[in-house]
Each structure stands twice: as C-alpha cells, then as structure tokens.
C-alpha cells in the first residue's frame, strides 16, 4: 500500500502541473494516450483476431502521433509507412492465410491470464516507480533539436539523414544486410517445396 500511495502522490501532481502548459499539445496527447491505451488493451484482449490487428493500427498510429508531438516527423512518417503500410498488412495477410474465422474465436488466450496480469502489474509498478523517481517532472526541452530545425522542419530531417549516412553508416549497412538475410530467411521458411 505504501508504494501505491507513493505512486499516487507522485502521479497526481503530474496531471496538474503549475508550470507553463502547452494546452493544444497536451490535449492532443491526452486524447491519443487514452485512445492508445484502450486500443492496446483491446489488442491483447479482443476475441477477434482481425480486430486485434485493426486495434493495433490505432496504437501504431497513436505512436506516430506521439512522434509528431516529439518533433520527430521523419520517424513518424516512417512509422506510418512501415508499420501501417506494411507490417499491419503483413499481419492481416498472416491472419487471413491462417484461416482466421470471421467473428469471435473463444480460445485465443491460454490459461496464464492471472500470471500475465500479475507480471504486467509488477512490471508497470517497477517501471513507473523508476521513471517517476528519476525524471519526476522534468520538462521536455527539445534541447537537442535547437538549431537544427529550419523552416518547413527540413532541418531535422536533414539532421537525421546526416546522422544515418555519416555517423551511423556502418550500422545502416549492417541493417541492409540484416534485411537481406530476413528476406532470404522468410522465403526459405515460407516456400512450399
């Protein structure tokens, strides 16, 4: 009970800070956060597999919105392109190719619900405790972006590309190798012969 009280004591002022308050951004955040959490819960609880994939669309779209709020437009658009445009489609393909029934399936969960909830709550407790303990009410400053954002937000995109093709060129090349390996692996696994 102590820790719960502690968390509440820490969280409540979070919601009502007395510092400057960027109203539109916070409203957007609040709305999409609530929607995202609801959708995420639906992803792991719904009894309809296709619905789960579609709820996942909502979550991933919300994550993209988060990126926009955090001024990471390029990552946000990548999120839309890769996750919504490709990964979700892959999921839907996977669902449809494995003959997901139209409508509700009853046995989508195993018998570990209680363990799952327990573990989840424990993890969340630890995580939030650690986060609140370390960051408390630190404001987002965007310190790292100051000076790189030009008109039309071109600057940040350019900064990202400079970082990828300069500092992180080798990881990038490794990544392309990984994608190639994944491509071959997926074909080998899925082909019928």
């Amino acid at each position: 009970m102590n820790s719960a009280a502690l968390i509440i004591a820490e969280v409540v002022p979070l919601v009502t800070p007395e510092t400057t308050f960027d109203v539109p951004a916070n409203v957007v955040f609040a709305v999409q956060a609530v929607v995202m959490i609801f959708a995420a819960i639906r992803v792991v609880t719904t009894k309809n597999i296709v619905h789960a994939a579609l709820w996942l669309v909502v979550v991933l779209g919300g994550v993209g919105l988060n990126y926009i709020l955090l001024q990471a437009e390029f990552v946000a658009v990548t999120q839309f392109l890769v996750y919504l445009g490709a990964v979700i489609v892959l999921f839907l393909f996977g669902v449809m190719l494995t003959r997901a029934p139209l409508g509700v399936s009853d046995d989508l969960d195993n018998n570990q619900k209680k363990i799952g909830i327990g573990v989840g709550v424990a993890l969340l407790a630890v995580l939030s405790y650690a986060l609140i303990e370390s960051f408390g009410r630190s404001e987002l400053t965007f310190a790292a972006y100051e000076g790189v954002a030009g008109p039309n937000t071109n600057g940040r995109t350019q900064a990202v590309s400079d970082a990828i093709f300069g500092q992180y060129l080798i990881p990038f090349e490794m990544l392309s190798l990984l994608l190639l390996a994944a491509l071959i692996g997926a074909i080998v696994l899925a082909r019928r012969d």
Binding site: T98, V121, L140, Y168, L175, L179, L189
Partner: protein, 98 residues
C-alpha cells in the same frame, strides 16, 4: 509537456505488450504484442533523442526496420507452423516438454 508523460505511456504500452506475449495463444497475436513492446521502446528512444541528440531518432528508425524484418520472418514461421499443425496455437508447440 513533461518527459514522464511519454515515458509512462510507453511503460504502459510495454506492459500491455508483455501481457499479450504471455497470454495470447495465437502466433500472430503474439507477434502483434511484440510490436507493442517494440513501439514502447521506440517512444523512449524518441523522447530521449530530444535530450541527447538525433541519434535516438536514428536508432528508432533502425528499430522500425528490424521490426519489419522480424515480422516478416515471424509470420513465415507462423505460416510454417500452420502448415504443419493446421493451427497457429503456440500452446500446442510443446515438443520441448520435459
């Protein structure tokens, strides 16, 4: 905006994803839950990139690419399981049982 509002959101998503990984029987659903976890991590990367520099965004991009590869291979595996077992319940994959 506060740092923590994003971080806590990410923590919640992470937890929900973990719950899904533990509880869901259907292979595709487990993969979806893993996506939740990965996205939660990505939010963290982006949040901290506002503090520490553009590297966070770069790594978020890398994570997205790797996640796409992971889904591709993961779904291939699920399809293979489906073909061999006529079902994608990973509960039934207990040949490793002691």
């Amino acid at each position: 905006m506060l740092l923590n509002q994003f971080l806590l959101l990410s923590a919640i998503l992470f937890t929900i994803g973990v719950y899904g990984v533990i509880v869901r029987k259907n292979g595709v659903l487990v993969l979806m839950s893993i996506e939740l976890v990965l996205n939660a991590v990505n939010i963290n990367l982006i949040v901290f990139s506002t503090y520490w520099g553009i590297a966070g965004q770069v790594f978020a991009l890398f994570t997205i690419a790797i996640a796409a590869a992971e889904v591709g291979v993961g779904l291939a595996i699920v399809l293979l399981i489906y073909r061999n077992q006529r079902s994608v319940d990973i509960d039934e994959l207990d040949e490793m049982k002691g």
